[in-house]
């Protein structure tokens, strides 16, 4: 049996679901960012898979750009997490609640 488009789409849907589950249930900011990374890569996997199965080269180009975007976003996000750790001595996102009304 060869791997076809449905298999790849299914894998990407699983990645999306795992990423969403991680983002919703985790309280550690770094773990939430790992969930975000899963969701991002679900989208990229889809793009590359569609491109492989006859939708032209655009998807692969988008995939390359997407990797760069994800890397840039991770850099900024981790820098901010570091700054939050310095200010609060914790990376627990649920403790960032000083501004509740």
């Amino acid at each position: 049996m060869s791997v076809g488009l449905p298999h790849l789409m299914f894998l990407s849907a699983v990645l999306l679901a795992l990423g969403l589950y991680t983002m919703v249930t985790r309280r550690n900011a770094v773990a939430i960012l790992m969930g975000v990374e899963l969701v991002l890569n679900a989208g990229l996997l889809n793009l590359v898979a569609f491109s492989r199965f006859g939708r032209g080269i655009d998807g692969q180009v988008f995939g390359v750009f997407g990797v760069v975007l994800a890397a840039a976003e991770a850099v900024v996000a981790l820098a901010i997490v570091l700054q939050v750790f310095r200010a609060m001595r914790s990376v627990d996102a649920s403790r960032a609640d000083r501004m509740k009304e």
Binding site: L40, N46, E73, A77, Q83, E101
Partner: protein, 489 residues
């Protein structure tokens, strides 16, 4: 290639200015006049970008259809250059931006401004994603610009977590649209999706709905539309005031303009026949929820900055009314409302900045008796607040009038309800804006310090307040410009 590069000349000028400011920041290290010099450089750069924008040749698609040069894009790019300049000037006037790192502040604002300018002319899903990130990444850093400050760090953390999540969802949505249509190009997306839908397979409908909604979620997050608004009050409250002022106008208006393009070009508009996916209704429901949630939450606020944050969520709702209607008249109304909103919202945040500068507080109590303590700030803030409410004879009234009139003109019951909800919301908003005005003029501020505005702040307040008044009485030049942007003239 020559014409291609010409078409993005303003963005190239911005990029050049950005590099020059970075270099000058290093060269002028240790000089006390560094912030002023950098502001001057950035202002000249923005001015240069504005001049090159005005002299751009021709319209049409450039870079193989990645960007489009059209009146709508040009109109909004001019607006974003003004928003960027205002953001930098506010930073110079505020003590919340550390002087030693002022160069970084200017560079980040310039980068985000460049992103907004690119987003509004994007005609390709990849270009939309990249431009959105170019806005988002500097915005995250700007929100957390005060390093030691706990509120600022919290704001940045919330912004980046919600932002990264919505970017991820948007990329997934775009991948589904690409899989269905086989193209990233917005104008060819509509016919390709139409062909796929005609084949009638149920998975196509599901994929289209998921792809459309997920992509929309990424843009809705940028404009802080309900239910993607959870980040906005905390970020707007915690970020330095100049950053809040910038984020609440530039990126928000860019998101709205990108939504107009994405929906009407990618999914077919109600003006040109049946859209493939009932987006006017979806956006209309989001608009109603955004206006109502924003205004109801603002009622209970005691922190004025947070109150204005909720009010700017409500204003995103008003703008989305125009997006939902989608006719050229509605796009003209959005193009008219965006500059008016820029003036009055920036003005209100400038008053908050001035009061905070002298008293160190943002709560309602700090505004008590401001009418006698600092009549200049109090009177101009009143003008901005009543304009935000939409009271005649101020510019906000004209903006809202055009928006709701465009919804009524369509004559469908749904849009009638939409306009009605908008009017009701304006009435609700009067309550909390007037509460602040009452605190300024009717309450006594005995014992509170005088907060005479520094001269540059006073001048800038005047620069923002005069057009807010004048455009309420004499709006035809702006309306003509907006008609041109919407392709009506």
């Amino acid at each position: 290639m020559g014409t291609n590069l010409w078409s993005i000349l303003p963005e190239l000028v911005l990029a050049g200015t950005l590099v020059l400011v970075l270099a000058a920041d290093l060269l002028l290290r240790g000089r006390p006049d560094r912030p002023g010099a950098l502001t001057l450089m950035a202002t000249l750069g923005l001015l240069g970008a504005g001049i090159s924008l005005a002299t751009l040749p021709g319209t049409g698609a450039f870079f193989d259809g990645l960007v489009v040069g059209d009146p709508l894009g040009r109109f909004f790019r001019g607006l974003f250059l003004v928003a960027g300049a205002m953001g930098i000037w506010f930073g110079l006037l505020s003590e919340e931006v550390p002087r030693t790192r002022f160069g970084e502040f200017v560079v980040l604002i310039l980068a985000a401004t460049m992103g907004t300018c690119l987003l509004v002319q994007s005609r390709n899903l990849l270009m939309i994603a990249v431009s959105l990130e170019l806005i988002s990444l500097p915005s995250y850093a700007l929100a957390g610009f005060r390093r030691g400050d706990r509120l600022s760090s919290e704001a940045a953390l919330k912004y980046v977590l919600y932002g990264a999540a919505s970017t991820g969802l948007m990329l997934y949505g775009m991948s589904l649209l690409y899989g269905l249509a086989g193209t990233l190009d917005l104008p060819s997306l509509a016919p390709a999706l139409g062909r796929e839908l005609a084949s009638g397979a149920p998975p196509v409908r599901l994929g289209l709905a998921m792809g459309g909604l997920f992509t929309l979620a990424g843009l809705a997050y940028k404009v802080s539309a309900v239910p993607f608004h959870a980040w906005a009050p905390d970020v707007y409250q915690g970020a330095p005031t100049p950053v809040t002022a910038f984020l609440s106008v530039g990126p928000k208006a860019a998101g709205v303009a990108a939504m107009i393009r994405f929906l009407s070009e990618g999914f077919g508009s109600s003006a040109t026949g049946q859209p493939f996916f009932p987006w006017p209704v979806v956006i209309g429901l989001i608009a109603m929820a955004t206006m109502t949630v924003g205004n109801l939450a603002a009622l209970a606020q005691d922190n004025v900055k947070r109150l204005l944050a909720w009010s700017s969520i409500a204003h995103a709702g008003y703008l989305l009314v125009g997006v939902s209607v989608g006719t050229p008249e509605a796009i003209r109304a959005v193009a008219l409302y965006a500059p008016v909103y820029l003036l009055m919202n920036l003005g209100a945040f400038l008053a908050v900045l001035a009061v905070r500068h002298r008293t160190g507080a943002e709560t309602m109590a700090a505004y008590r008796g401001l009418g006698t303590r600092s009549p200049w700030i109090a009177v101009s803030l009143t003008v901005f607040l009543f304009s935000l409410t939409g009271l005649p004879p101020l510019a906000g009234f004209i903006g809202k009038f055009y928006l709701f009139a465009a919804a009524l003109e369509v004559g469908r019951p749904f849009f009638l309800v939409l306009a009605l909800v908008g009017v009701l919301n304006s009435v609700i908003s009067l309550y909390y804006y007037a509460r602040l005005v009452r605190a300024m003029f009717l309450d006594r501020g005995a014992g509170l310090p005088s907060v005479a505005a520094p001269r540059p702040v006073a001048w800038l307040l005047l620069v923002l307040a005069v057009p807010t008044l004048v455009l309420g009485l004499f709006w035809s030049p702006l309306a003509a410009l907006a008609s041109w942007a919407a392709g009506l003239s």
